[in-house]
Amino acid sequence: MELRKHEERNISPEVPDEWFVPKVRNHTEAEAVIRPSLSYWKDSWLRLLRNKLAMAGLVFLALLALLAIFGPMISPHSVEKQSLTLQNLPPSSQYWFGTDDLGRDVFTRTCYGARISLFVGLMAAFIDFVVGVIYGGFSGYKGGRTDNLMMRFVEILYGLPYLLVVILVMVVIGPGLTTIILALSITGWVGMARIVRGQVLQIKNYEFVLASKTFGTKTARIIRKNLLPNTMGPIIVQMTLTIPSAIFAEAFLSFIGLGIQAPHASWGVMANDGLSTILSGYWWRLFFPTLFISLTMFAFNVLGDGLQDALDPKLRR
């Protein structure tokens, strides 16, 4: 095993007498703090920035949002105009992603699909957030019997198979965008509630909260100012992971015929339509919707991962 020789040590016998005088001191020397301290959020943001994969995901999502909003406007074609003569054209300078079996432009439809997916994802996450935070925050804060009861309820709901419930609701209410969001929200908030409650339980006994209480601060204010900022980390992470599962659920439902119905364009519907084309060679009809589904979920997942790493106080350096 090779050893690196340490720097030259001062074994110098040449130590002049003049040095043997009391040291001249500046008082801050001993107490100097070594590193500038960053606020929690700033530190997390910096850490996230360094995560290249997460940043790539963020950039992709930003571009996707732009595509969703402006895509249909810049495209020369409409989303629903059918044409019997222009069926199944491969991608070209005229039709950037080609056309489908009804002559519709795949690019414009993909953009609309983006709108739908992002909308579903964000709405589901938002509802989960609102319901979950209220339920979980209240349960955790109150503690004791109320908490027990509320959590028992959550446990039972947790045991329900998520997609089965969604399918069931869809069958009953009928397909459509609002019903999808409704169905996803019915059991989706449970995960968020659990996390929020766990966080609240941890923090409500910390000293700074007790200090606030002794000053007579109202419950709502305590929740807002003391508890929430410290629990935001896991909440944010949970939301970034709810979105791709909502998008997946929508695509899945559309794929089995329960989701968005024709002639509307969602990526799931387009993928379902495109399924039959595997053998016929019209690859672009399947390729683009599936590509976008995958990339979007990938982007949200790496972003969520990155956020999780960045917001974890234990990894602070």
Binding site: L53, E155, I156, G159, L160, P161, Y162, L163, L164, I167, L168, V169, V171, V172, P244, F248, A251, F252, F255, I256, G257, L258, A271, L275, I278, L279, W283, L286, T290, I293, S294, M297, F298, N301, V302, D305
Partner: protein
């Protein structure tokens, strides 16, 4: 140990009952279902329905009858397929789906754990990075997308595997692969995280200080602790595999229960939808229970002992 077991079984029964009840009342509230005023055009079917569901009785009685039938494990007749009952369909389709699901779980678990352990042992190395990148892809790409990709590459472009039906081991490769990638990725990531955390624990240092070889440390000490969180996740993975069979069986034309279920959804065969939902829920809840109990057995800290050391 016993109180734990009983509590879990009780919770399971409650959840199952909830689903049955919810499903029953939901199905009865759908406009256009034969449970409401609509009569189906087929006389034979209508007869079956009335015999089983006693449609002229008040709703509560119907509910009671349904529960009674369920206890006898009788799930009722189909509307759209007049001579079949739900039990028939399950009998035919479920073994196929079970095979698919079981093999998938096996493949996903073994390869996931292997990948996760390797990545953890070569932390921050190339293997770690590569494995985790593949894992993120696996989590992100939905199983039906994966299926179409596999078909495109491995059956159409390079005709290595057959595409449809379930008639030979060769037929099983693509469907299992498509269904297993997601769960495998999840298991790999979880194993890796868990393993990394375990490896920083003091008892690993103690094991090293005792002079144990690295292999022994990993397999005897680290693994059994690292795998505990993985066991807890198996339950929900089973659920996602199960729902995955719906689309996979559709794409690969596999005659399993999932395919029947999807068909029944599309044809609005409500009794079948209802019966299958109840059946699936029962299976999933059972799986969750098994996983829970397994965890209780594997983690000695859960065992409730009466004597504590002093």
């Amino acid at each position: 140990m016993n109180t734990y077991f009983i509590k879990r079984v009780a919770a399971m029964i409650i959840t199952l009952w909830l689903i049955i009840t919810a499903t029953f009342f939901l199905m009865h509230s759908v406009p256009g279902s034969p449970f409401n005023e609509e009569r189906t055009t087929n006389e034979a079917v209508q007869k079956n329905l009335e015999a089983y569901y006693h449609l002229d009785q008040p709703l509560i009685v119907q509910y009671g009858n349904y529960l009674a039938a369920l206890v006898k494990l009788d799930l009722g007749p189909s509307i759209k397929k007049s001579s079949q009952t739900v039990n028939d369909m399950l009998g035919r389709g479920f073994p196929v789906s079970f095979e698919l699901g079981f093999y998938t779980l096996l493949v996903a678990t073994f390869s996931g754990i292997l990948l996760g352990v390797l990545a953890a042992l070569r932390h921050n190395g190339i293997i770690d990075y590569a494995a985790m990148s593949i894992a993120v892809l696996g989590i992100s790409i939905p199983n039906f997308v994966m299926a179409t990709f596999l078909i495109e590459e491995l059956a159409v472009r390079f005709p290595l595997f057959p595409v449809a039906t379930w008639s030979s081991p060769k037929h099983m490769v693509l469907p299992i692969l498509a269904l297993a990638t997601g769960p495998m990725a999840i298991i790999a990531r979880l194993t890796r995280t868990s393993m990394l955390e375990v490896l920083t624990q003091d008892y690993i240092k103690t094991a090293k200080a005792k002079g144990l070889s690295p292999v022994k440390i990993v397999f005897k000490h680290a693994l059994r602790n690292a795998l505990l969180p993985v066991v807890t996740v198996l339950g929900s993975l089973a659920a996602s595999i199960l729902t995955g069979t719906f689309v996979i069986e559709k794409i690969f034309a596999i005659p399993g229960m999932g395919k029947y279920f999807v068909d029944s959804i599309n044809t609005r065969d409500y009794p079948v939808i209802m019966g299958t939902t109840v059946f699936y829920s029962a299976i999933l809840i059972l799986m969750l229970l098994i996983v829970d109990l397994a965890y209780g057995v594997l983690d000695p800290r859960i065992k409730l002992h009466k004597k504590e050391a002093k």
